[in-house]
Amino acid sequence: MAEQEYDVIIVGSGAGGGMATHRLANAGLKVALVEAGAYYDPAADEQRTQLRYPWESPRRGASTRLRPFGDYNSCIGGWELDGEPYTMKGDTDFMWWRGRMLGGRTNHWGRISLRFGPLDFKRKDSDGLGDNWPIGYVDIKPYYDKVDKLIGVFGSNEGLYNDPDGFFLPAPKPRLHELYYIDGARKSGVPVIPARKSMITKRINSDRGVCFYCGQCSRACGIHADFSSGTVLIYPALQGGQVDLYTNSMVREVTTNAEGMAIGVSYINKDDLKEYQLKGRSVVLAASACSSARILLNSRSARHENGLGNSSDHVGRYLHDSTGASRAAFLPELIDRDIYNEDGVGGMHVYTPWWLEDANLDFTRGYHLEIGGGMGMPSYGFGFAVNQYNEFLGERVGGYGNQLRDDIRKFYGSRLSIACRGESVPQFENRCELDPTVVDEWGIPVLRFDYHWTQHEINQARHMQDTMEELLEASGGILLGSKPGADRDYGLTKPGEIIHEVGTTRMGTDASTSVTNEFGQLHDAPNVFVADAGTFVSQADKNPTWTIMALAWRQSDYIIEQMKQQNL
């Protein structure tokens, strides 16, 4: 191949890389998109998992190492990848999920699409912890608006200050267990509103289909009625002829010249195991917060001895994930319920945004509540502990024979669950760095994690548990399991477990305490950008995807403008 110089080399095809590809290719730039995993098309029968019955899998949808969320889940990746280890420092127990496929982790997320609010960009102003973002809600709002209209998100305008309105598609009606939750939440004085998720409940353009309510967004939609980066952003970009897609290509480092500016990337082709170079005028890293940090740290040169962009020693620092806790209940009023198709969209139709902004609590920063339950399709695990709820009815648990068929129907769809997702406080000490001795199968030094929750997150988890108990009982539920106490950090999830890692290349105006400027442009090498959640200064209790895409779009406009002005 004749050596070509690209205008932009984009590393990673998830939310940030997909948006950058879509915008920059659309502007006529010549783009190389480099993805560590394989091509993926959810509609191709050899890759399709949507609308398959449980018996089409020998393990009936049970999880596997490559698909930890079940073997019909569309995301190929997981916590442990063959040949790609990571390590921990001290007693750190960090979980690192990596997607290895076109579209990255957008094949796997819950499609919960929340804007950060005005307070979320300026948390230091209210609690003195961490730092403010160099931008505010007004700077990003126009891009949230554009993302809403381009990609589609259902929800409702509620006029909530820190959960801003947008351009929403109409919401799906609540399911029965969600009506029980709505009543319970209202009884407890806790707000509940339609969920905000990126499924097409009403036609948005002529290219994408409208949701047909199979409830299987986690398997990826063959008619592209849910958002994933591959189907919604990258396919259209590939049509334009401006994009060369490199799959199964594991980027080792950003290559730089004597002046310290990027000249391209080097990558290992996972098929022939050889190393290749791509040349580009600029590089956009969107490999995920931790993977992009790893690439930067591995891009060492005479001009960048600590790794590219790391003169401040901030690459990898301030790593933080969402907090999480969950609880479930049995709803006796749903015993022997009528059975009908209530698949709906994948996951919840209603949720509770954070409502205690002004309360005096023993932790700072909030959380939201996600609601689960319903008459889902049986898969592996269905029917385990078949009649355990008999305990609450004074009947015997266990047994055998045809009575078990009655038990299955009696309790089908009678469970209500809540999962909380909260904001943690970013810490300088919580970080990923290069392990000094361990490499992956291609010889690339791997990440070592050093991460501990603070008392804020632990106290927040305790509050989550109290809230969930109150709401489940107010909804008519009998609590299942026991409430985790201090000995288990109140059921607080492990760092990394919620898969919302952010902060490793945070943005700021001071080059000594941040890695990029407000456009995700490295202070140390202006033709290198970060388009994933690494640039987040703080996480909010909102799922990061919508903000990743709004920031990537804003960054793309900036790149296009800088190229016009010949600054890049």
Binding site: L179, C214, F382, G398
Partner: protein
């Protein structure tokens, strides 16, 4: 799958070292047990790595014949075939258990050891392996180990084992076509969700309030391309 369109038969063979019933009247109903076999190859959107992994599991045999027959007899007790929607054997349960313990090998020993415990218990009590005692004796044994609230310390290993087998049987049956029919499952098909049916709302004393409904999709207009005014109000 059709009800036992193909029958797999396994005939009991004496096992080295095992105690086979010799007394009259214990001629085993388990001597001829059959089930609908499950497929041994699948196509459902797998990567090459996944295909190789599953092929390796299918190529491996874990259970001995005696164990597989015992699993079949137990699964048949847990969900009998004499039912309009079939039972465990019609759903190929022994093949399912064989695959799942290879896929999740934390189950291998509990099931193998559980069968051995069951045989030892049956020999102590009735003088023969579980599958070689009479049907009523088998049911007596199941009555002793099928209920987790039974406090008898001697029975706890059996109770744990029976729980595992009940879980496998229920999940293995209710993830087949027969099981979905038995349950009455209605989903996994393209449609339009337009809320809980009215009759169900009434039964549960629930309703959709007008304010909430105003935020929900009007399914008669779902195909009309969305447009908004500048304040984000949907106008189409």
């Amino acid at each position: 799958m059709d009800r036992r369109e193909t029958l797999k038969s396994l005939f009991l063979a004496p096992l080295a070292g095992s105690v086979i019933a010799t007394s009259a009247g214990t001629a085993s109903a388990a001597a001829n047990v059959a089930w609908t076999p499950l497929p041994t190859s699948y196509s459902y959107g797998r990567t090459e790595v996944e295909k190789r992994y599953d092929a390796r599991l299918f190529a491996e045999t874990y259970f001995r014949e005696h164990e597989l027959i015992t699993i079949a007899v137990l699964c048949d007790i847990i969900l009998p075939s004499e039912h309009p929607n079939g039972g465990a054997l019609d759903a190929g349960l022994p093949d399912f258990v064989e695959f799942m313990v290879k896929d999740r090998d934390q189950y291998k020993l509990p099931v193998r050891g559980g069968i051995a415990w069951l045989d030892s218990y049956a020999i102590d009590k009735y003088g023969a392996d579980f599958i070689n005692v009479s049907e009523s004796q088998r049911l007596n044994i199941c009555d002793a180990i099928a209920y987790p609230d039974n406090p008898d310390p001697e029975l706890q290993p059996g109770i744990s084992f029976f729980t595992v087998m009940r879980n496998f049987t229920m999940t293995g049956y209710y993830t087949t076509e027969l099981g979905l029919k038995d349950l009455g499952y209605q989903g996994n098909s393209p449609g339009v969700w337009d809320g809980v049916p009215n009759s169900v709302l009434q039964k549960h004393g629930k309703h959709y309030d007008a304010d909430w409904l105003s935020k929900c999709v009007d399914q008669s207009r779902r195909e009309i391309i969305a447009e908004w005014d500048e304040d984000g109000n949907l106008i189409t």
